[in-house]
Point group: D3
Chain length 265, copies 6
């Protein structure tokens, strides 16, 4: 169901996706102490030019590409993508599917507990959605208590080396905003048919309510910040940038996940 393969159909990496594997193969991976990467995304409005799959699609793509790097040195497998996260702030635009926190926590607990029961000991939640970041850290803390398992979480664009590379590649912005130059570029590279070019060039992604909150946190509906549902400069996107961003993300995430200190008991 879930084609956790790169969009370019590289057959060689297909054996990295949990969903493509057979039970004996997965039992062997558990016995080999394979690293399990669990992509976590969201299904939510991404402006008038991008499909709602963006955060889930990109988390899965980065996971598969990072795993391909890791697989050169050690056992690794990529779980199916959790395509639904915390996206209440996008609900006013329609098109969005969101969980409440308790359900998000419960799903991740069940998935991690199942994986752990099969003998895997290294789990990494690889996130592609801003609204999930804090919640995933809270959940990782709770799971440590409940399951006694080491669960690492990471958002691909905040991994240090990825953030650095993104700054170099991007023209109009310095990181990942929403339906922005970065996300649009990567989608152009992966799913060009799903990007609406006219809207991409026309949409206004400037952010309203720029007055800084001065370090306070105030939950905001996305509609308070942007009329179009976009924050950033989609018009600056290109497929070529997208390919470079994906390569950099995969490399950076792979490097980060193989740090030995991460997995000490």
């Amino acid at each position: 169901m879930q084609a956790l393969r790169s969009g370019k159909g590289k057959k060689s990496v297909s054996k990295i996706a949990w969903h493509d594997l057979r039970a004996p193969e997965l039992r062997a991976l558990a016995a080999a102490d394979a690293l399990v990467i669990i992509p976590v995304g969201s299904t939510e409005q991404h402006g008038p030019h991008l499909p709602v799959q963006v955060d889930a699609r990109l988390a899965a793509e980065v996971a598969i590409r990072a795993a391909a790097h890791i697989a050169e040195h050690q056992s690794v497998v990529v779980a199916p993508t959790l395509w639904c996260g915390l996206a209440e702030h996008h609900m006013a635009f329609g098109a969005t599917i969101t969980l409440d926190f308790a359900t998000f926590h419960a799903v991740i607990r069940c998935v991690c507990a199942s994986i752990q029961r099969h003998g895997f000991r290294r789990l990494a939640l690889l996130n592609g959605h801003g609204g999930n970041i804090k919640a995933l850290d809270v959940i990782a803390g709770e799971l440590k208590q409940e399951l006694g398992v080491r669960v690492v979480s990471a958002t691909y664009w905040t991994v240090s080396s990825v953030a650095g590379a993104f700054r170099e590649i991007l023209d109009e912005q310095t990181g990942v905003a929403h339906a922005c130059e970065a996300e649009t570029s990567m989608m152009l590279a992966l799913e060009p048919d799903l990007v609406e070019r006219e809207e991409m060039l026309r949409v206004d992604g400037s952010r309203r309510n720029l007055s800084a909150s001065g370090g306070l946190y105030r939950w905001k509906g996305f509609e308070e910040m942007t009329e179009s549902g976009v924050i950033g400069v989609p018009a600056a996107a290109s497929a070529e940038k997208g390919e470079r961003l994906l390569a950099a993300a995969a490399e950076g995430v792979a490097e980060a996940l193989v740090q030995e200190e991460l997995w000490q008991p």
Copy 2:
């Protein structure tokens, strides 16, 4: 992320998948009172010859194909696939990811509630996993109270006309068991590279503990019933049968879902 398109790359149906649509398109579908089909599967061991994606993959495939039929007459959209269900009975074989009932309920509630908040009024849970059948009916009843929304549930192979067609197509069995002639055939049609032929021909799918329970229900681990994880006759499978099964399932499900009485308030 989730390629909810037919395996044959028919671009024309790609606009049926929620994940491939942009927010303005989904808002228009809500305004058009589109039917929403939500595929529900499982990620679990399917013997030595099939990948663990089977139940999720087939539910999604049938959903997309059925939606293609429906789209000729009315608005319809296919939500991303819930790839994780109730599969505790497969856990002993490894490879399986399961939710507990409360979490399964919570996820479906959040997904249905999100969709309803956007104005959709006709929701169909299309199931591809035996272990979900009873739970989905219980959940549909609870949602009626909680959300006041009409949620229909169906398991594709138990839709009456589908069941009839399957009986005609299949040689060795009359319905869907587990990693059986039917499921193996459909996977041969959709993902031939992921089917291990040698195991498919060799595996013993006979059912142990044949003594009938006489109508009692006793939760059983799958390992009590089969050593291989298979029940049925995979060796009888063929891609040609698989394609016929998929076509019959899509047609039967489409017919069933457009019954007007289903959606009366």
Copy 3:
């Protein structure tokens, strides 16, 4: 409080009811590895002619009579009746008391856990209400995980041999519908004073919305299907049929519950 004895006052079976036993007797039964039958019913409208107790009363009666058979060969005890189940679909008629699923689950878990803590190892939920069937199977699966205990569930009229016998005894219908020939007959045998004869003969129990759903499940309020709250032909009932039905149910359930394979670890 709960007269779990046959309506005919047979003193000899009174020692089968948990409620009639003293603590030392119950401790001895646990030590003897007695089978525990837990009747599960419902309190809900049963048309204009039958009292709301029907599903609970009949589950308890069949349980006690089945236990009397079993007691000839092994230790057995019948727990007090859970008289409240999932009956939301009858609420529109008044008179009905229903639990939500989470509460139904919690009650059964607490009751089973208490019984297990005292050393009993064989538990059978004997159900007399259609609305509970799927939920009980889901719950039995969950309890297997939570308590590690073997819990069997059965609805008396779906036990294979019972279903066969019912078909032979009944004239106008082939199984148990609702407040129907079968249920009315059994109540005439057990509680003739509580059956309103005039209504029994007059009530229209034909089912509306006969258009088949084609194998789909759609939660329906009972008021969508019947104006009277009855489905079936109460006018065909008689006390004599009722006595035969009860005898057949008790015998069939007893036979089914003593199958050795059921209780293998």
Copy 4:
């Protein structure tokens, strides 16, 4: 199933029990603003001489008898008995079935909510088990918020006039302890065949750990206080006292429940 009738088979009161009524009768009672009495008991060890049904049986009996008094002046109905309460403190003796607090709360909420949805506005929980007293008051407070309904709770022997009458009738003790003179007497009146006379005369019901706690509360297993499971003097019991106790309880409860101030909004 649940013979909520007086033990003496007085047919005239049978129409007071919810379980004996048909839906049209219960709808009429709701329309007549009938008082609903919900007996709440427990299923737990009651020493070597009494069956485990005592607390549920006596709550139901007092409810039915009190309702018979009330029925002379206003509409009233007695719900089926909640036969399971909070009895963890008796678990060490076996034979006991207990709920945890959250489940006890949930069951009472569902039962009260169902009754309220049918239009009843006056609900009284009539309790017969010491371990439920505080919990019922907590629950009544929660329900006031959740359901907005007036729920009164009472333990039959602590109703002021009942307490006074009991002091006059009893010889060896002044109230209700556990499996004591009072409870044994009432069971002798109602279910003489279920009382084991030899044990009744022999059992030691003196209380250990008499050192007062000085007003502190410390949860105690019953086994810390009594070796036999009895506190009180069963040997002082008689059926004649039992009948007087029941009559006094019914009268006192009936008087208390018809106070008009109780039911002011």
Copy 5:
């Protein structure tokens, strides 16, 4: 944050408050099997003359003073005060902060579990709010099951010897009502600047709805019983009485908590 010291600034007792201690000191107390007193209060309206802190302030004060007595003989420490309890019945007056029961239970469970994990084995919940009394006993029972820990609960004015002393000291009332002679006196002794004298002398604290409920429990909003939010005779209060009351409470509580029988396993 929470000055758990006597209002008179006695530095000598400051080392009794958990909040004033450093980690090595608390680890030493755990090793010494110290008694842990956990004050539990409420934040709620206390009429026009008293601040809302009363129940929390007095529970903490009595705890600290009692601990000072106990500290002469054994190790003891006073946890920070749970200043929020069950006060729904005061909400109509504003100013009140309340928990629901499930949250109250969860907080106390977490606090007790944390303390137990550090090796403390004797925990006493010292309560200063009427609305918490029954709930605390229910919770103590639940914790016994969940944590396996001995948790004692006490409301300071119901400790037997305290109740006796209070009767002797007070003129107009014999115990603690609400914002009454007793509570006002103690607040005059501790926080004279926070007592509004004019209102104290003028307020009408007579109780409406005096008709006894005859032993029934009916949840009442405080506004049903008193227009002013006061029950009792604040005008009879004095700081001198307050100091005597506090001294008596501390002494009585200390005596009660050192009973050896309390802490037997």
Copy 6:
């Protein structure tokens, strides 16, 4: 109980603390649309030299001082301090009291809901504990859905202007670590008697496991990072710095909270 007043006994600000106010005063504040600041801290080990109250004490102090500034221009009140947060990562050192996330969420929901029910519309959670930061943001988002109320959260040292001022005042570190120069200085200013000077000068607060995680999140017990429980340079602390830090924090927080944009609906 909870002396939410500045440590210097400035009587003039005492009327800012919810706990010191009487019900009529709080009702008047609600009518005046007062801002409500809710201090949130933690009770946890703070090395060998500081008491466990630090995070709760400092959050409360900053809240009261900030409120004093705000009170010059608009109505404001400071709720009692939530002294218990998420501190599982400190449990290995003893002395720590922690909640799980669900309980933390529930407590804050109940407190905010109570305040909102009284008519207050502007709520600010002012946090003083690193472990609470992400969780508070998650909770604020959930409350927006559940209560429809605007809840702002802030950690005092991350408010932009406060962070700037802290950098200028501190010598050895640039922000707030744990039991560090900043926290120790503020405690020296507020509670000099509770700071153990010898330990303060001697303790080693260097951080182990310095290897950066490269932007990944991995839940760590504090014992993995520091043997002493301290991170930072307590020896660099002084009361004079502490007073300046507190003044800067109060001023910065006050300025941030009065931004009008924060409270737009």
